[in-house]
Symmetry: D2
Subunit: 306 residues, 4 copies
């Protein structure tokens, strides 16, 4: 047994207010707009004394962070969640002395207008889809040391194709009992995060375009494995959007097992499946550019820590 | 303390297989169709000996019910979930001797086709919305004693209006501190269940019409309280659909609290809200016809029991 | 298609404030006590005008109900959740004019004291188990028409036995492929609700006794099916507690499938299982006394509605 | 807008089978033992062709990984989850040619024996607590390049103290409205992960000791902030366990707000609280030794990715 005797010291630390449920209504005209957000803040900085001695002199309460998050929804607006997140992160770094870097994580829930008599309603919506748009904004340092990163993304985009997917020719070992599949259901709940090369981006246009690209490639590619689909999705996104330096994809393989009906004399040619919950395959891949700028601290998760 | 001494007897009992995740693909042409279901079966009947003596002689295994549920997805198809449920319930009552009545509860998850280059894809879909279509089918007895009930419904239909809602003139007591609201956000996650007067119904047309009616009334009615909205929704549904005998509505009042920004010198005229999770108001109402046929055992829940 | 033409009328309706998360600390001495509750209120009464005309004149806001729920946690205390619930329900019926009956549903989360150096800590606890104690209190009418019901209960009591359970001799049909099992794992997440014959009960003693009885019978009975276990549990509870008129039990059969390792030349004599999530068997049974008093409206669920 | 033009390449990638729900019964004597696990595998290696060309020749199916996970529960046993995880990870690296490193993540759910007539039952248990024991085992390389890391941990350990916690003297800014608190409830759902310096550890003894230490420090320390509690917890763990090189702690501050009852003429001296769900403070800190060996790739999460 290895016994260590080195001095015990405080390592990296951070804190913030997680999951502020901000709903912003824009009501400048009779046709209202809605943005429905879940906002988390995370501050790094000179907070050693709070840990070592219980001295809160450099600690801005998480409650103050919460107030700022709500107030900025009006002061700065949330026309683009990326800009709103940048405004918050810059504020914490610039205006709160002990803060060295700030991270803002945002989830946005989509709504769609109710249609009445063929017309979109001015101020009534239903929640749209299970999918969540995400953004993670990191701002570090001041003056010439200032660095800023924006990671766009989405999660819980549940997508399924009923043909155009196979899984064959795989490596086998003594525990391999799986039969090759020439034609199967492929389904996943896609999570994608893409890192921008700068903060000067047409946010909503790129988001819509990346989302459409993900779905187009998933649908149109005849897939030999989820790995191939992920890579081709990532490549297509980077090819179409030079503002994106890198994309990371995580995809559970939501298994749909063909149900054995032959026992009952019933033919089942890819028509009846059991959708299983667990276990699931979990495939993760990244695609990037050779000239991608340094990612710095941007990929450190906060609220999603295991 | 009241002490009872009466004979102890077996009361009502039932059993089944819950949450069978059936996915049915129709692939007769290149343009596939998908129905994604969560199916539960529940049998009532002569199962006393299983409880009293552990004798399984009249008990059809829940595994056999599961097999039937999957097999009927091909044998009978699932063009309409109500017909598929009726086929299953009739089968258990007619073909399994000890069964006196059967209930089939179905949740259906909606999918929408991926659009690529402006065209709907033949075999790729994304999950649509949080909303779930429901059906509960009950079949009781055989021959001239045969009775059948179908309850259609939906749940988790999250809907919000940013104006056109007030709450004023309410009863007050010593614990009342709430201020009247002239203009507020009204949001709910609507659950509705409607009982049909017969089993001869144009299922999908009525479902689409009821759903549209719910949303139309919620959107267009200037609401003095969620109670009023529920009643007007129910009345409109019954007026438009003479095939429906009764409708039950359950609506959590998902509170959106106007955020106090005046403390920071920021005006907030109905623009920034905190969406609170708990507690929530919970409003439930039913609307029915005076000539509604007897509901029998149809409103007894199964998987949703508290 | 049956078309109904009867007059459309308002049916049963009710409302309240659900899921108030009340935490009550008793700190009369250095050894604190904690009660951690989730409280929901439900009022029935003369609220027709709110539905039909939007007139809130008889509607006590759900916010006022919330304030009362928190204030009574101090005014009346929560030594027993059943007494606390009775105090709340009686208050709403007696002190709020339009209310005809009131229902209070309570979930209580158990905590256990942290043990430091062999001694229980005075004011620090950890959450204990997944199990939740429940109570549903219904009070109806005033004066000589007054009726009161208390239903105790628990849910999410996850229990498993690794032997002493079989399932054989069952009815078969053409869809039966299940093999009889001589020795299997039996596991469930037990939900039980028991109706008291009066409100004069030694609440905590009976709760502890019923819980112990549930577990003892589940453990000791060699079970021929979950149905038998439920009945014997119910019978034992009623035999031991003459204050209880009726018990209802709901038990998902959480399947543990013996894993096929023979394919890899590995013996598996009841040692390695896959714990499956869905589907699951769902068994429900009630046991009651022939002299049980009328249950009135007490079994109508509120927050648990399907 | 920054436009990148660099070559697009495949970045880091990995795959595995997540959430295998393995239940292992040891039945060598009448007194059975149970281990209830959720096991995920993750492989890194030469899988480029699967992504770039859809060639599965080096891809061991996730199904084969699943079979191995279940089979090893018997072949190797699960006396200690860390040893079981090491056996699996070593197998994938050593026996599957294209694999360069393997990570096994395990959650273990605790059970406690049912007590009947004062004696622990031989083969019946209830689920114990909400808390989950975790382990993450990483094995990389072969021969002299072989490296192995084990991270122990727990999550969802919900703990609350009703006094002995303050929060005062904090930094203020224009958004600060929080009042200092001299005496408050402090509650969290603790997640801790600790990295061992070697794989030669008395696993269960250390786990029990770390868990007891976490609770003891949380309970006994008069806390000036959650930050201080986390640091003191980490320091105590490292002081007592020289086999541990580093510990990482993540703690949501589960707010309990003192309820304002003065409005109703009711005194509330720290007795009635509202337990709020969201937002919550989120505090994260690490404590480590200056002579801690290199962490390599061990802190990369897999199933917990944001």
């Amino acid at each position: 047994m290895t016994e260590l005797t080195g001095k015990i010291v405080l390592g990296p630390h951070r804190y913030g207010k997680a999951e502020n449920r901000v709903v912003r209504i824009v009501r400048d005209t009779d046709r209202h707009e809605i943005r429905d957000l879940n906002v988390s803040s995370c501050l790094h900085g000179d907070f050693d004394a709070a840990h070592l001695e219980g001295d809160q002199g450099t600690v801005l309460p998480t409650d103050s962070q919460k107030q700022t998050i709500y107030s900025y929804a009006k002061e700065k607006g949330v026309e683009f969640i990326e800009e709103y997140g940048l405004a918050l992160a810059r504020h914490f770094v610039d205006d709160v002395e002990p803060v060295r870097s700030a991270r803002i994580e945002i989830e946005e829930y989509a709504w769609e207008r109710v249609v009445v008599d063929g017309a979109e309603h001015d101020h009534t919506w239903t929640r749209k889809g299970s999918e969540v748009r995400t953004a993670a904004i990191t701002v570090e340092g001041t003056g010439t040391d200032r660095r800023e990163w924006v990671v766009g993304g989405l999660k819980d985009l549940v997508v399924l194709k009923s043909t155009g997917s196979e899984f064959q020719g795989f490596l086998t070992d003594p525990y391999t009992v799986l039969e090759p599949a020439e034609d199967r259901i492929m389904a996943t709940s896609l999570q994608a995060r893409w890192r921008f090369a700068s903060t000067d981006v047409d946010w909503d246009t790129v988001y819509a375009g990346v989302r459409a690209t993900l779905l187009e490639v998933f649908a149109n590619l005849h897939s030999k494995a989820l790995q191939q689909s992920l890579y081709e999705i990532g490549r297509a996104v980077l090819e179409r959007y030079p503002s994106i330096a890198e994309i990371r994809l995580s995809a559970p393989n939501k298994h749909h097992f063909l149900y054995d009906l032959a026992r009952f004399g019933v033919e089942n040619a890819g028509e009846v499946f059991h959708a299983d919950d667990r276990p699931y395959g979990l495939i993760q891949a990244s695609v990037l550019r050779e000239d991608a700028p340094d990612a710095g601290i941007t990929w450190e998760p906060y609220t999603g820590i295991m």
